[in-house]
């Protein structure tokens, strides 16, 4: 066993020396390889972080949301429904929610206006709490500059800014304007006692299905959305976009593989001569293959490390500047936030499979061809 280890170490040492001798060629290969890995790794790291983000956001979302449907379209729901549902066992709390969209003609953005579920969170009358991208898109000149919203030409409603939201959960709060209930109803001219939808929280997750079923019987026209469904939709959406990115990157992997195979089969005269010498002085075909595998392994490992680290920096330190728009979605308001850094073993393994495997597959046959050179050819 120790002799096996020593043999591997000696081969690795020789390989390192050999790599260092052909520095320019190998650095070039390494950089191209690392770039391919960088693209794929950025896509998977970014999508994984987005999925995590969505999970974090949804963790605080209500378990079930009840929406009223009229002609199959979402409509306001009367407040007396709350009392009806309150009787069902297992429902921990039930609240009517008020939220809506506002199209800002000044810059073409869509804001989400909302009344916080917790009354203590609501801003005082005439004030608003705003998401982090609003000051940016409205180019608010100073920290406490008031917000003016215009519903029709000539109309102007003023809100003072009570607070700006931090960018911790920017993906969903970026375009948010929080108002108190009275201001909200006045702004949208809503009658009393209607809500946009109703949020339920349920303590025991195993009871969600039964409760949903009971409410369904009580309110046959309503649509019931569970948190799990939303989570699934997010997961699917981000995974799908990631998959598309990886598939596209697959083209670059393929190009690289062809390049690597070309490189490995077109050994230079110098390298062919070296392998001939090694075979002549007593190296076995297996030794040469092991040495070449070390070479491939070291290059792959280096490129994998470099590519992944660069992708990590790209995604978490530079907000995935290169293709964030593809993965996040298209909107006038891009969330501006730092993703929580995180690395996922499964994604890394998958990444390894996707990038290193094709490289190995592409180079092993050329390696074998070189390694089976006749040992006596240096004498001819």
């Amino acid at each position: 066993m120790t002799s096996w280890l020593r043999r591997q170490r000696a081969l690795a040492e020789y390989t390192l020396a050999a790599l260092a001798r052909r520095r320019i060629k190998n650095t070039g290969l390494l950089l191209i390889y690392a770039m391919v890995i960088f693209v794929v790794a950025s896509a998977t790291l970014f999508a994984t972080a987005l999925r995590k983000e969505a999970e974090v956001v949804l963790a605080e979302a209500p378990e079930v949301i009840i929406q009223n449907l009229v002609m199959g379209r979402h409509d306001l729901i009367p407040g007396d429904v709350i009392a009806e549902i309150d009787g069902i066992r297992g429902v921990a709390s039930i609240k009517g929610r008020l939220w809506g969209y506002f199209y800002d003609r000044l810059n073409g953005a869509n804001y989400t206006l909302m009344v916080p579920l917790d009354p203590a969170m609501a801003p005082p009358a005439g004030q608003a709490i705003i998401g982090e991208s609003l000051p940016r898109v409205r180019e608010m000149p100073w920290e406490t500059a008031p917000l003016f919203l215009s519903r029709t030409p000539g109309d102007l409603v003023r809100f003072d800014i009570a607070k700006r939201l931090s960018s911790d959960s920017a993906l969903v709060s970026t375009d948010l304007i929080l108002l108190n209930e009275a201001n909200f109803r006045a702004f949208f001219e809503l009658p009393e006692d209607v809500y946009t939808d109703i949020a339920l929280s349920i303590r025991n997750p195993r009871e969600i299905d039964t409760i949903v079923e009971k409410i369904g019987r009580l309110l046959p026209n309503a649509r019931l959305v569970t948190r799990d469904e939303i989570a699934r939709t997010y997961q699917k959406l981000f995974s799908w976009r990631e998959g598309i990115m990886v598939l596209l990157a697959g083209a670059s992997v393929l190009a690289f593989v062809i390049f690597a195979a070309e490189k490995a089969s077109g050994l230079s005269a110098e390298e062919t001569r070296e392998i001939g010498i090694l075979k002549a002085i007593g190296w076995d075909t297996g030794d040469v293959i092991a040495m070449k595998l070390w070479e491939g392994g070291l290059v792959s490992f280096g490129a994998f490390l470099l590519g992944t680290v660069l992708a990590y920096l790209h995604v978490f330190a530079f907000d995935a500047g290169l293709f964030a728009s593809v993965l996040k979605g298209w909107s006038v308001i891009y969330p501006d936030f730092a993703l929580t850094p995180g690395i996922d073993g499964l994604q890394l393994t998958a990444l390894f499979f996707l990038t290193v495997l094709p490289y190995m597959a592409a180079t092993i046959v050329p390696i074998w061809r070189a390694a089976t050179a006749d040992p006596d050819q240096v004498m001819r």
């Binding site: 120790t2 002799s3 096996w4 280890l5 020593r6 043999r7 170490r9 000696a10 081969l11 020789y14 020396a17 001798r21 110098e270 070296e274 010498i277 090694l278 002549a280 002085i281 007593g282 190296w283 076995d284 075909t285 297996g286 030794d287 092991a290 006749d374 040992p375 006596d376 240096v378 004498m379 001819r380």
Partner: protein, 226 residues
């Protein structure tokens, strides 16, 4: 020590370009002797050398080393046999450029999994004995012809093989260096080693140190001189 029995070697068998390099060779090589194969180029002496030294397999016939049949072995085990028995010095020395003398000398020991430090110590001792220990750290491109050959000899001996194989060792050396080479070979024989070489250098055939000259022509043995 090495016994060659009716060995034939045909290259490109079954094709129009087929070439019979060896045609029924029978030969015994004595232990601790210095044997030289001579003959014009194309006479098959290098092919015979490579078959004796387990580098190539004969198309037919048998090769025995110390009574062990080696001619039918799979390549992997042929290599094992070769490592254990032979060290090689080639005509153009075949050192690997870009590596130091010491690294070159250590190459045959690399895949064996021996103790690295002990290997290096042996290598340095051998370089010392050959008078080029001072060049151990130098890259091989910067060596003179004689130094390169001595580095190649040190490399051939790193695994302590009982037999040294040399292919046209003096072809690129002047007379003085050729004599130095023969002196080194005598030293090796004093250590108990057997030496086999090919040469068309008359200085070698005539040298006192040579025990036996085997003359070849067209893949057959011509005569033996004592």
């Amino acid at each position: 020590m090495i016994s060659v029995q009716s060995v034939c070697k045909t290259y490109n068998e079954g094709r129009p370009s087929a070439l019979t390099a060896l045609d029924g060779i029978d030969l015994e090589i004595a232990r601790n002797a210095l044997t030289v194969f001579k003959g014009p180029s194309g006479s098959g002496k290098t092919t015979l050398l490579s078959i004796i030294s387990c580098m190539a397999r004969p198309t037919s016939g048998r090769v025995l080393i110390d009574g062990r049949m080696v001619s039918g072995l799979p390549e992997r085990f042929l290599t094992l046999e070769r490592r254990r028995t032979f060290g090689f010095v080639f005509q153009r020395f075949n050192l690997i450029r870009g590596l130091s003398v010491l690294e070159n000398v250590l190459l045959p020991a690399t895949p064996l999994g021996g103790e690295r430090r002990a290997d290096a110590k042996r290598a340095l001792a051998r370089l010392e004995m050959l008078g080029i220990a001072g060049k151990a750290g130098e890259r091989v491109e910067f060596l003179s012809g004689g130094e390169a050959q001595r580095a190649a000899i040190a490399r051939a001996l790193i695994n302590d093989p009982p037999v040294l194989i040399a292919d046209e060792p003096t072809a690129n050396l002047d007379t003085e260096l050729a004599h130095r080479f023969l002196d080194i070979v005598s030293g090796l024989r004093a250590e108990g080693r057997t030496v086999i070489m090919t040469s068309h250098d008359p200085r070698i055939w005539a040298a006192d140190q040579v025990d036996r000259v085997v003359s070849m022509r067209d893949g057959r043995l011509e005569e033996n001189e004592a």
